[in-house]
Each structure stands twice: as structure tokens, then as C-alpha cells.
């Protein structure tokens, strides 16, 4: 037996060797023989009629190979970019689903909408030619905010989508909620905005496409979180390429956060173009291009009401949200503010009645879709904010009101009134752990110290739950999913006992090559070094739905676990034959097959060897070889949760908010690699802090220009914004996943915005401040203080 590094260990990440030594293999590193360069020409207008495109000057420019437009797409009879979810309104009427052409036809609907693809020998030549393209626009007024978009007389994006409403969706028992509100001793109300975000993965999107006439096969290299889904959506629904004639490769990808889990028009255009010009073509987005074309996240305007009895028990919760979809429906677009939002409004509380109405709205902005957390941060923010509002209005302690309403540990499984059933959890345990870790009992001392320096200190709580491990296919199908959401893994044991795993999830920073290798090392007793994880290539991996929604370990890891079980089961059959014992008497432990109660054993390597050199082998009843595959479709979502506590200091002179302490105690189920889990929590929390304090995608109403279109104007959180974080796990085991895992990829982003804003409001509560919209920028805080008419200017 070799160097087993199993579940619960924290080896250094295998993949970091190549990443940290500059040996990664990203799309933009790849060169194909005869490769040309492609550049997209994008709309500079938020909303305009396309009256015509004059290609002649661009075509005549040096090095230009082709210029393709929406007319060429139409001439070739290609499909529109598909939406992966079809939701319906309260009456069962399907959402409005206008076509999303891969190159604009007739109209452009956001700044960044693609109007042409210019292909030239070099990217400089393509860029120069792109500037020569004459596009005749008839500029129309843009509408960018959801409130404005649904107003009568607002600019209409599509003729057949009145008031720009894609779907008027609802969930929950409206009548029961109304009844409960009538009985309420207190009703807390809150209006809030969930700010629009831009994902900013470190690696911009990129693609290379190639067509081989000899085999009639296409290959697309793309920065994707789900290559098999791209193959299906693009091949089957857009370009009419049979699945076996299309290979999609997503090699090393430098971060995704959701931005790369959609099928983008660029992928379809470049693949189609590669055959038209019979040349491999490469496109690499610039950062600025990413700002106006990467799908954005969040962007809600919400009114919430919470009904309580006189003791502070929640009776009912009612939420009305306008959710921005942008100019078209992206792959998961309409699913995010509906199915991933409404069902989470129960939180960790026993609220018996919940009603949620979401109007999904088109605007002249980049399409909005999933961004780390996707729907659950929005739900958590609404709920955890209004709980604080209610506590303050009723004069209850914020921790106490949460305690009174929490589902007790014994209360699981717990059926919420909004579809989902939580299998396990311990919110009280997480809360208690976090109160201690955050040293809440000495907060008063720290607050006085801050006051002595002229600063306001505040403490904020967020006790949350989320749903991840996307997803039980049948359940998702009922909600409108147009595909399955299982995962697959193949475990290939080589004749010498080393293992290659082919898995359908995609590693783009999460550490899968390490975590999955630990699972195999533990379960098969093989050396950690002797396990390789293969992903991201439809020619090498059987199938898969990719990585998003904290699903890789939960769903992919489960498939992997099942496949290793099958390897062990077959190994036992081989061992029984070799050891001349009955199969039921064979035990497998620590990499050895043995006959129970004897010292007769065969190593894992010996069994692997026998499987591939089947001289002494039960060929009549057993196939040679040792390779097993499993597909796993989850029976439920998983429900990680926890308690986050933020502590901030506000400088009343400038309005600056400084995050001074951050504590998170999360229930993520079984922890395979504590170091990686901690890293995921750190990164997730920082992104949530980014939303709470810094990040904001701002559009100009009327022109539709993105005003925060670069890192100069869009503030990403940075290392010096963060204190040292205290993160810990307080896990209960998931009852339905094979290893008890729940997932940890998004919890940080989901729990943190509410904790931070609750802390900011707490710091300012003595001035009568009851809510602060995100991001809590210095200007915004200063304005609140001005309105509170405080003499803040000088001592």
C-alpha cells in the first residue's frame, strides 16, 4: 500500500504545481496550425435598429479573410441561442422567450450585443478592419432599470413582450400568507435593491474553433465550466452539428464564478465561421469586452414584508421582486431569480407561510444569469435583513429573534412551505459556535474603543441556508429545467494499479484534482500520486453537466464514489477467484482484498494486473478489465448553511466602512479537504463582501451605456479590504449523498452580504438608520449621515 491521502487530509493541491510554475494550458495558450484571428464588432448603443452593415471597407482591409453578420447567420438557417429553463407564470403560461440570435438581426439590445465577426490573419488586422465596418444604427431610447422597464410607455425591447415582462412568476400559498398577515401583531417592511454584479474571473473568455474536412469534425476549445452542455446546446440546437462530430474542450480555465457556465454566442459564431473559412480561428476577449459581454449577476428590486406574532415568531413572509434579465434570456437566466430564489425564502426558520412573486424583466443591459450563489445570496439578503428590521422595530435582540424561529436540530428533515425539504442541519449549533468564535460578548468593549477614536462600530449576523448540489433531475424538470442535472464518473484502473478518473464536472480553481484524488485514494487504498483526474474534454470524458451550483463534489463526487464502489465489487469477484474463496468472504480494506478470518490477501495492484492479464480469471462469468462508470442523479438538493458574523467600523467623517472582523461557522457536511474548504469559504466571503461594500455595475438610463465598464470604475474587493477571517465548520451530515457531503463553493458568497450590511446598519442604528443599500460606499454612507443631520464634519 502506498501513500494514501484520504478524506479529511489537507494535501497541497496537485494542480497548483502547474499553475504556479506557469505551465497551465489555457485556451489562449493554444496554437493551431494556420490559425487566424477573430474579433467581434459589438453594439456601442444600448438599443437600436440595425438598418444595415456595409462590409466593403472592412473586407478590403489588409489580411481580412471574412466578415460575418446576422444576415449570414440567417442565410445559413442557424438556430437561436437556447435557454435551458422554461418557467411558467401562475396560470401556467410559459415565459416569453424571444429569439437570441448569435449575431444581432434587425435590432441590438445592449451595449456589447454582437453585430459582426471579423476574421483576419492577425488580431491587429482584425481589429483594424473591425474599425472600418460601417454599421447603420437607428438609435432608440434604452431602458436599463427594472422599475423603469415595467412602467407604461417604457421602451419595448421586443414587439411581443408587453411591458418587457418575460414572466410573472409566483410561488407559495398567497391566501395563507394573507390570512397570517391579518393576524399579525407586527409587520416589518423593507424595500431593497440587490446590486448588479460583474463576475471578473481572472482569465477573460476565449475560444478557438477548428474544422477538419477529412473527418467532418469540429473542435471548439472554450473557457467553459461545462463543455458537454456546450456541445449539446450548440451542436444540437444552434449549429445542427451531430454530437459525434463535435468535440468541445475546456482546458485549464482561470476562474468562472458562473460567468463561464453559459453557452455564449461567441462559441457558436466561431465554430460556424471555422468551417466557412476552413481555418482554425482564435478569439480572446479583452477585459473591457468581458465587461459588456460576460453575463452579469443579481440586479433585483424587492419589497418584503414579514408578519410576526407578539413574541417575535414569524407567521408569514411575502416578497415581491423585479428581476433584471438583461436584453435576452441567457442559458440559466430565468431560473436564477425564481427557482433558486423563492424556495430559499424560508431560511433556517419555521415560517409557516411564504409567498413570493417575481417579475422577470427584459432591459437594455447585458443578459443576467448565475453568478456565484445565484439566487440564494439574493434570498438570504432579503430574509436576513428583514429579520434585523423586525427585531429592531419590536425591540428584540437580533440573536434572540433568530433563535426563537430557528428549526431545531431535531426538527430535520424539515419541509418548508416553498417546495424544498431540508434533510439535515443545526442552525442553533452554528449560531452558538459563531457567537463564541466572534467574541460577541466583548463587542461592547470594542465598540467603546472605536467610539473613543470617533468611529462607529457595528456587528451583523446572517444565519442562512442554501440549496445546492444541482440538482435532482425530476424535481428540476418540474420546475422547468430542459435538461438533466446528474453527473457521471469513470474510474479506469490501469493494469499496474494506477487510476485515471474521467469526470463530467470541470475544475477551474476549485481543487477537484486534489479532492477527487483523495476520495479515490481513500476508497481504493491507492497512492494519492497514482490518481489523475481528467475533465473538460468531450472526447475523453463520457458525459457531464459541468461545474456550478456547488455541485461538483455533491453530485460528481457521488458518481465517483459509486464508480469506485463498482471497482471494489468487481475486484472482490476477481479476488474470490484467485484466492479460491466465496465472494461473500472477501473483504476489501486499505488496498487489500483478503479472505475474512485468514491471512490470504491480494493487493489492489495484483487484482488490477489479473484483470488485464486474465490467464487465471473467471472469464466465463466476468469480463476482463477494471474500469467502471457511474451516473448519479441526486435525490434532493443539499442544504449547507451556517452563521456569519461581521464586525465593521464606520468613519463618520468620510463614510468609509472598514470590515474589522469576520467569523463564519458553516455546515458543509463531510469535509474532504479542510484546506480547500477553508479556501472556498475565504474566496466566497470576499466576493460577498465585494457585493456588500464595493461592487456595482451601473448603467446610464436612456443611453444604456455601462458606466462601470472597467476595473478603474468597478471596484473589486482586494486583499487589504479584508481582516483575517475566522472560518470553521460545524457539520451535520447530509443524509442522502454517499459521503454526507453538502458542498461549500458558494456558502461564503451567500452568507456574507447580509452579515456585512447588518453590521453597517447596526453601527449607524443610533442615528435612526434602518437600511443601507449595497454597495455601502463612502458616498452612500455619508449621504445617510447627512440625512440623519448629524454634525459629522468636524470636532
Amino acid at each position: 500500500m502506498g501513500n494514501v491521502i484520504g478524506i479529511g487530509a489537507s494535501p497541497k493541491r496537485k494542480e497548483d504545481q502547474r499553475f504556479l510554475t506557469g505551465r497551465g494550458n489555457y485556451v489562449s495558450d493554444i496554437k493551431r496550425p494556420g490559425m487566424a484571428a477573430g474579433v467581434f464588432v459589438r453594439s456601442p448603443h444600448g438599443h437600436a435598429k440595425l438598418r444595415g452593415i456595409d462590409k466593403s471597407a472592412a473586407l478590403a482591409a489588409p489580411g481580412v479573410i471574412a466578415v460575418l453578420t446576422g444576415d449570414d447567420v440567417a442565410d445559413d438557417g442557424l438556430g437561436s441561442l437556447p435557454c435551458g429553463w422554461g418557467i411558467t407564470d401562475a396560470k401556467g403560461v410559459p415565459m416569453k422567450e424571444p429569439p437570441f440570435p448569435m449575431l444581432a438581426q434587425d435590432k441590438v439590445r445592449f451595449v456589447g450585443d454582437m453585430v459582426a465577426f471579423v476574421i483576419a490573419e492577425t488580431s491587429d488586422q482584425a481589429n483594424a478592419a473591425a474599425e472600418l465596418l460601417t454599421v447603420d444604427y437607428e438609435v432608440l431610447p434604452s431602458v436599463v432599470g427594472v422599475l423603469e422597464a415595467v412602467r407604461p410607455g417604457a421602451p419595448q425591447l421586443f414587439d411581443d413582450v408587453p411591458n418587457n415582462i418575460c414572466c410573472d412568476w409566483e410561488l407559495g400559498d398567497k391566501a395563507a400568507v394573507e390570512t397570517a398577515f391579518r393576524k399579525a401583531a407586527h409587520v416589518a417592511k423593507l424595500s431593497l435593491v440587490n446590486n448588479r454584479l460583474i463576475g471578473n474571473p481572472m482569465e477573460p473568455r476565449a475560444a478557438i474553433a477548428e474544422y477538419e474536412p477529412g473527418t467532418d469534425r469540429f473542435t471548439l476549445w472554450t473557457t467553459s465550466q461545462f463543455p458537454h452542455v456546450v456541445r449539446f446546446l450548440m451542436g444540437a440546437l444552434v449549429l445542427n452539428i451531430p454530437q459525434h462530430k463535435l468535440r468541445v474542450v475546456a482546458p485549464d480555465v482561470g476562474g468562472g464564478f458562473g460567468v463561464k457556465q453559459f453557452h455564449y454566442g461567441e462559441e457558436a459564431v466561431i465554430t460556424w465561421a471555422a468551417k466557412r473559412v476552413m481555418r482554425p480561428i482564435k478569439w480572446v476577449a479583452s477585459r473591457s469586452e468581458g465587461y459588456v459581454s460576460d453575463r452579469h449577476g443579481r440586479d433585483h428590486v424587492t419589497e418584503a414584508e414579514l408578519a410576526l406574532d407578539e413574541t417575535g415568531k414569524f407567521l408569514a413572509f411575502r416578497v415581491k421582486t423585479l428581476a433584471n434579465m438583461g436584453g435576452y434570456l441567457s442559458t440559466f437566466g430565468p431560473n436564477i431569480p425564481t427557482n433558486l430564489y423563492g424556495p430559499l425564502l424560508g431560511g433556517v426558520y419555521t415560517t409557516p407561510a411564504i409567498y413570493c412573486n417575481v417579475k422577470v424583466v427584459f432591459t437594455n443591459t447585458v443578459p443576467v444569469d448565475a453568478y456565484r450563489g445565484a439566487g440564494r445570496p439574493e434570498a438570504t439578503f432579503v430574509l436576513e435583513r428583514i429579520v434585523d428590521v423586525a427585531a429592531s422595530e419590536m425591540g428584540l435582540d437580533r440573536v434572540e429573534i433568530r433563535r426563537r424561529n430557528m428549526i431545531p436540530k431535531e426538527g430535520y428533515p424539515y419541509q418548508t412551505p416553498v417546495l424544498v425539504q431540508y434533510d439535515s442541519g443545526d442552525p442553533v449549533g452554528c449560531l452558538d459556535g459563531a457567537l463564541v468564535a466572534a467574541d460577541v460578548k466583548n463587542f461592547g468593549i470594542r465598540k467603546s474603543e472605536s467610539a473613543r477614536k470617533g468611529k462607529f462600530r457595528g456587528l451583523g449576523y446572517s444565519t442562512y441556508v442554501e440549496a445546492c448540489g444541482l440538482a435532482p433531475s425530476r424535481f428540476a424538470g418540474r420546475l422547468g429545467a430542459r435538461g438533466g442535472l446528474y453527473e457521471s464518473a469513470t474510474v479506469r484502473v490501469h493494469p499496474t494499479g494506477q487510476v485515471t478518473v474521467m469526470i463530467g464536472t470541470h475544475n477551474h480553481g476549485q481543487g477537484h484534482e486534489t479532492t477527487f484524488a483523495q476520495i479515490v485514494s481513500e476508497k481504493l487504498g491507492v497512492s494519492f500520486e497514482n490518481v489523475d483526474i481528467v475533465f473538460g474534454d468531450t472526447d475523453r470524458v463520457q458525459f457531464g453537466m459541468g461545474t456550478y451550483g456547488s455541485r461538483s463534489l455533491v453530485v460528481g463526487g457521488a458518481a465517483l464514489s459509486k464508480a469506485t464502489d463498482k471497482v471494489v465489487a468487481k475486484g472482490k469477484k476477481i479476488a474470490a477467484h484467485l484466492l479460491e474463496a466465496a465472494e461473500v468472504d472477501i473483504q476489501f480494506e486499505a488496498g487489500k482484498f483478503s479472505v475474512a478470518g485468514t491471512d490470504r490477501t491480494k493487493t489492489f495492484e495484483e487484482i488490477a494486473g489479473a484483470a488485464y492479464v486474465p490467464h487465471n480469471y473467471p472469464l466465463e462469468v466476468l469480463e476482463p478489465g477494471l474500469e467502471e462508470q457511474a451516473y448519479y442523479d441526486p435525490v434532493n438538493f443539499t442544504y449547507p448553511g451556517g452563521c456569519h458574523i461581521a464586525e465593521v467600523e464606520v468613519d463618520p467623517e468620510t463614510g468609509t466602512v472598514t470590515l474589522v472582523n469576520y467569523t463564519a461557522v458553516d455546515d458543509v457536511g463531510t469535509v474532504i479537504n479542510p484546506m480547500i474548504v477553508e479556501g472556498q469559504l475565504h474566496g466566497g466571503i470576499v466576493q460577498g463582501v465585494g457585493q456588500a461594500l464595493f461592487e456595482n455595475a451601473v448603467y446610464d438610463e436612456g443611453s444604456g451605456q455601462l458606466l462601470s465598464g472597467s476595473l478603474m470604475d468597478y471596484c473589486m474587493p482586494r486583499a487589504d479590504h479584508m481582516p483575517m477571517m475566522k472560518v470553521a465548520t460545524h457539520s451535520t451530515l447530509c443524509t442522502h449523498t454517499p459521503m454526507g457531503v453538502k458542498g461549500c463553493g458558494e456558502v461564503g458568497t451567500i452568507g456574507s452580504p447580509a452579515a456585512v450590511i447588518n453590521a453597517v446598519v447596526d453601527a449607524l442604528s443610533h442615528l435612526g438608520v434602518t437600511h443601507v443599500d449595497m454597495p455601502a460606499t463612502p458616498n452612500r454612507i455619508w449621504r445617510l449621515l447627512q440625512n440623519a443631520s448629524l454634525p459629522v464634519a468636524a470636532e
Partner: protein, 265 residues
């Protein structure tokens, strides 16, 4: 980036000649501002004239009552200079607050002053200290040099060779960083001389400007309390997605207090 010719002259007059003889040519110093605009194809000069080989443009000299900083001196060198730290600590502090380490290692004082970005830091120090801009052709007083939004008194073909700073009795800089860019949302430089106080503000408007009421008050009493009640008119101040004009005006007062505080500590 579009193609361009590249020249690396050895003498200032040669550089000036190249600049005037080639239409659409541009000087490049540290390239921290220029190269990004080329990459984004926002500028497309036909030729770049690189200043890095010109003699005597780098380094800091002590002239007694003044300090001269060569135009090609990077921000990091100014920040770390024992001489500047000793004689004008507020200026060394200002240089240390510019951008990030990479930007400070490449970016130069001449490039920053020539560019006159409305949110750049050096213009506040140059105007606040009443420095003299020494060029290939003449000497220009700071008060005559900055003409608003990216505009300066430089003539075509004129090259900054050094900036000469009078040594003040005390000087301090306070910067409120714009959240995303970390340029100055508002930066205030305050300098006390034997004959009075100068206060210069960057970031708040379309270009660096002085604040006479604050200068008068501080000349009477060089203490933060002297400016605490002085409010700035919002006329001409910038309003954008990061800060509204009245907030910027408020920050001018707060940063002025902090600049004086820094000068005194």
C-alpha cells in the same frame, strides 16, 4: 495596439526635434498611462520617442533651498529617497500613495505632471509646493502650468526635464482613494512656507486647484482646526458614479484637515 515607429534619442534636443518633426509622435516615459491607451487603441501615434536614454533626467538633487527631481525619476525612488523624506516628507508620502508597486517602479514624475490627470497625485504636490517645471525650453511656475483636464502649458515638442521644489517649513498630503482606481477621489496637499501657506486640491474637479480661504486661515494658524469649518463650493466639482459633488466638497475639508495634521506630525 497599432504599429508605430520607435526612437530612443540620446540628447534632449534630439528628442525635441523628433517630436516636432514627426507629426503625431509622442513621448514615452514610464508608459504607465500611455501604453494602456495604445493597447485600447484610444491613441495611435505614428512614432514613440522614448526618454529613457536621455542623460540627467533621472535622480534627485539637493540645491539647498530647493530639491530638483529629474523628470524620469520613478515614483518609488521619490518615495524611498532619504533626501525627500528629510526635506519634504509630505512629497515622499505622496509618491508612496500612487498606484501599486509596479506602477510606482515604472511611472515617472515627468509623465505624471505632463499628463495632468485630474485625479493624479503629483499635480497637488507640485501646485501645493509652488514648484517650478523645468523644460527643454524654459521654466514654468506651477501656478501657470496646470490648465485643467489633461491640459498643461507645455508647447508641442517641449519636454519636462525636472521639477524643482522649494523646501517648505512643513508639508503634508492626505488622499482619499477612489474605491476602484485608487487614484485620488480627493487629495489635498498643504505646505507652510515662511511667507504663507499653499493648499492644492486634486481629484475633486477637472484639474488641480488652490483654495485661497484655506490658505488664508492656515497662514494665520497652521492647525487642522483652522480649516475644519471652511466649506468648498460645489461649483465646478465633479459628480460621477463614485462620488457626488457635495460629497467631494465635504472631503476637501476633511482631507485638508488631515493634510495639515500629517504636516504637523
Amino acid at each position: 495596439m497599432k504599429p508605430f515607429a520607435y526612437h530612443q534619442p540620446n540628447q534632449v534636443p534630439d528628442a525635441a526635434k523628433l517630436l516636432t518633426s514627426i507629426e503625431d509622435s509622442k513621448l514615452v516615459a514610464g508608459g504607465m498611462t500611455l501604453i494602456p491607451t495604445l493597447k485600447q487603441r484610444l491613441a495611435s501615434p505614428v512614432a514613440l520617442v522614448d526618454l529613457s536614454k536621455l542623460p540627467n533626467l533621472k535622480g534627485i538633487t539637493d540645491d539647498g533651498a530647493t530639491i530638483s527631481i529629474g523628470a524620469m525619476t520613478p515614483h518609488a525612488v521619490v518615495a524611498a529617497s532619504k533626501l525627500v523624506q528629510a526635506k519634504i516628507p509630505g512629497l515622499a508620502a505622496l509618491a508612496s500613495m500612487i498606484g501599486d508597486p509596479a506602477v510606482r517602479s515604472r511611472g515617472t514624475i515627468g509623465g505624471s505632471v505632463a499628463n495632468n490627470d485630474p485625479a493624479a497625485d503629483y499635480p497637488a504636490g507640485v501646485l501645493g509646493l509652488g514648484a517650478t517645471i523645468v523644460t527643454s525650453a524654459r521654466e514654468i511656475a506651477a501656478d501657470k502650468f496646470f490648465l485643467g483636464l489633461f491640459e498643461t502649458a507645455l508647447e508641442p515638442g517641449e519636454i519636462i526635464t525636472a521639477i524643482r521644489f522649494p523646501v517648505p517649513l512643513k508639508a503634508g498630503y492626505a488622499k482619499f482613494k477612489a474605491p476602484a482606481s485608487r487614484y485620488a477621489l480627493v487629495g489635498v496637499f498643504a505646505a507652510k512656507f515662511a511667507d504663507g501657506v499653499r493648499v492644492a486640491v486634486t481629484g475633486a474637479g477637472s484639474g488641480v486647484f488652490r483654495v485661497p480661504p484655506m490658505e488664508a486661515a492656515l497662514s494665520q494658524h497652521f492647525d487642522p482646526s483652522a480649516v475644519a469649518a471652511i466649506k468648498i463650493d460645489t461649483d465646478g466639482l465633479t459628480s460621477d458614479i463614485h462620488a457626488e459633488a457635495d460629497y467631494r466638497a465635504h472631503l476637501v475639508t476633511v482631507m485638508a484637515k488631515r493634510a495639515v495634521d500629517a504636516a504637523l506630525s
